[in-house]
């Protein structure tokens, strides 16, 4: 599992609005890549283009290429549904399915695609995914209770379990801790550290300390002014970005001069 992603000259539009301009970058497998930058700079938008979730918004489209191990996600014959099975996503607010139990939530990706699953295989996948999300010990006695009944941090880890149950190559996280308390945040950050041994992880975060703590590489996004497209200013190893960035704007941002 775990694949490398190459983004080449990616431009993102919402209708006529040019949201992000000309992004090129490489995301290494088995590593954590963080996107940081001020609000509205397009970091979440770029993240969503990595599994074509931006297409949910009517009028959104891109030009350029996103290659996952040399397969273009935007090739005409590529099915977005297929892309999303390989590139999982965790959202800002925990969103377990309210009609489903914890168990059903974890297995949702499989059952919604109507793949038949024997009871034993389902149990195994369930335990494996929940263990992978550091949630197994907390919920193993109440797997048939509603997923919405868990605490916010547990719900978010349930969503991570749900994402890894479909066994993707890449996991995208869109500010996964912004709705959580510090303890839950810590649990998620620990989990991210473990996930990178199996997956390519890309995380968008507002929190620079978080980026510094969890990521191997960091990309800094910025926009020149409101209404202008966002762009990738620079991308480098995390220690370098935070100690010795090559661009002035990056330094200004991480030293807290704006953003």
């Amino acid at each position: 599992m775990s694949k490398r992603i190459d983004v080449k000259n990616l431009d993102i539009y919402y209708g006529d609005f040019h949201a992000v301009k000309s992004v090129s970058m490489t995301i290494e497998p088995r590593s954590v890549t963080a996107f940081i930058g001020p609000s509205g700079c397009g970091k979440s938008t770029v993240l969503r283009t990595l599994n074509r979730m931006h297409e949910v918004i009517p009028g959104a489209h891109v030009t350029g290429e996103v290659l996952m191990d040399d397969r273009n996600l935007y090739a005409k014959e590529t099915d977005p549904v297929d892309v999303r099975r390989q590139v999982g996503m965790v959202f800002q607010r925990p969103n377990p399915f309210p009609t489903m139990s914890i168990r059903e939530n974890v297995l949702a990706g499989v059952s919604l695609n109507s793949k038949r699953l024997s009871k034993s295989a389902a149990d195994e996948l369930l335990e494996q995914s929940l263990r992978g999300a550091n949630l197994w010990t907390e919920v193993k006695d109440r797997l048939d209770r509603p997923g919405a009944g868990l605490s916010g941090g547990q719900q978010q880890r349930l969503c991570i379990a749900r994402a890894i149950a479909v066994q993707p190559e890449v996991i995208l996280m869109d500010e996964p801790c912004s709705a959580l308390d510090p303890i839950s945040t810590l649990a998620i950050e620990d989990l991210i550290n473990e996930l990178k041994s199996d997956y390519t992880v890309v995380i968008v975060t507002h929190n620079m300390q978080q980026a510094a703590r969890v990521s191997d590489r960091t990309g800094f996004f910025n926009l020149e002014a409101t209404g202008m497209p966002g762009e990738l200013v620079e991308m480098d190893d995390t220690p370098k970005i935070f100690s010795n960035p090559s661009k002035k704007a990056t330094e200004d941002y991480i030293s807290g001069r704006f953003g």
Partner: protein, 377 residues
């Protein structure tokens, strides 16, 4: 409210700024209002005993309650609390006022229809061959009631069932179109507009439409059960669309995104995530739509006509339905001199309709719970 601090040069207290008129609130409880309420009840009872019309006594007592409550709270807790209490009184008053006719209606229906609705004649017989003579015998000589609403019950089920079969798929899929496929844009704008127009179709006009349509298709004056089902569908579709659209819209986008991000195709996302999440709402919306049309009278009067006997073929000839049956029995008794048996049948049919509505609503709740079993338990 206020913490005693020395006002500094930079920050003055609100009360010291010119033009700010602070209206403070002092602690209060609802206790006084209950005492006043008790007082008002006593006043009302006295007025009634003094010979006032009971309705008038109640109104006067209520006004007295509002005035006294305002005065009491204004003096103890300030005018804002007094206004709050008056609002409270008005809200409670509205609630009680509305209960009066509704309770009276249910009471009348149960008392007037209760005895007849359980009689085997009402449930098992049609009006075939029943004339004023039988009613005369029933009322004057105490003979058993002859003639019931069996045919109307069957007709109601057939016509409403057909209407639901037409409306529910069209309505729910239209809602899916509006929420999932074309949430914005000119087409959905047009469809929403048309649904609004449809909502505005008065029931009698729907009946006229079915009548006119059938007149063109099958010759003028053709009345049958299908025409009634079409008329009811015209009324029902818009309700189903509106209710369903509302319910689908409430489903958080995050759930759709969660599903799509798991690599689930759009139609499965709709069918297995959106619809189940909205299931309870959809079920209750559909049931309310059915319950609304099951008691329709006017369109069926126009499009289906009136049958005295059983007709189970909706493609051929007039049928009867409970609402139309009640209307005819109530306004055109079989024997003008001996109206009671006909009125009994009318009230029994009314009670039966109300009961059906209740059962429909209860079963909607039950189904809703069965569809979404794992939330909040």
């Amino acid at each position: 409210m206020s913490v005693e601090t020395e006002p500094t040069a930079r920050q003055r207290k609100l009360s010291e700024i010119e033009g700010v008129d602070l209206d403070t609130v002092r602690a209060s409880s609802n206790r006084q209002s209950y005492i006043v309420l008790g007082l008002a009840v006593v006043v009302g009872a006295l007025l009634w005993l003094l010979g006032l019309h009971p309705a008038l006594a109640v109104v006067l007592a209520f006004v007295a309650y509002l005035v006294i409550v305002y005065a009491v709270y204004r003096s103890t807790a300030g005018s804002r609390v007094a206004v709050d209490q008056v609002a409270r009184g008005l809200v409670l008053g509205a609630f009680v006022l509305a209960l009066v006719p509704l309770v009276s209606l249910l009471w009348t229906v149960i008392v007037r229809g209760g005895a007849t609705v359980v009689s085997p004649a009402f449930l098992g017989q049609t009006m075939n061959g029943v004339t004023g003579l039988q009613d005369q015998a029933t009322q004057r000589d105490g003979a058993e009631l002859i003639g019931g609403a069996y045919h109307a019950i069957i007709g109601t089920l057939i016509i409403t069932g057909l209407a639901a079969l037409i409306s529910v798929p069209i309505g729910v899929f239209t809602a899916i179109f509006l929420v999932e496929y074309q949430p914005k844009g000119r087409v959905s704008h047009l469809i929403r507009f048309l649904v609004d127009v449809m909502t505005g179709i008065p029931s009698i006009v729907a009946g006229l439409f079915a009548f006119a349509l059938w007149a063109v298709l099958f010759g003028i004056g053709t009345k049958n059960g299908f025409a009634g089902a079409v008329a009811l569908s015209v009324l029902m579709i818009s309700t189903v669309v509106r209710n369903s659209e509302e319910m689908l819209r409430i489903v958080p986008n995050e759930l759709r995104e969660a599903s799509l991000a798991l690599g689930v195709p759009k139609w499965r996302t709709i069918a297995k995530v959106v619809l189940p999440t909205a299931a309870s709402g959809l079920a209750s919306g559909i049931t309310l739509a059915i319950a609304r049309v099951i008691g329709e009278t006017a369109p069926l009067l126009v499009a289906v006509g009136y049958a005295r006997g059983l007709n189970v073929n909706p493609a051929e000839g007039p049928m009867n339905t409970l609402a139309v049956y009640a209307y005819y029995m109530f306004t055109k008794p079989l024997s003008p001199g001996y109206r009671e048996p006909s009125l009994d049948r009318a009230w029994a049919a009314a009670l039966l309709l109300v009961l059906i509505v209740v059962v429909l609503n209860l079963s909607a709740r039950f189904i809703a719970r069965a569809f979404a079993p794992k939330t909040g338990r």
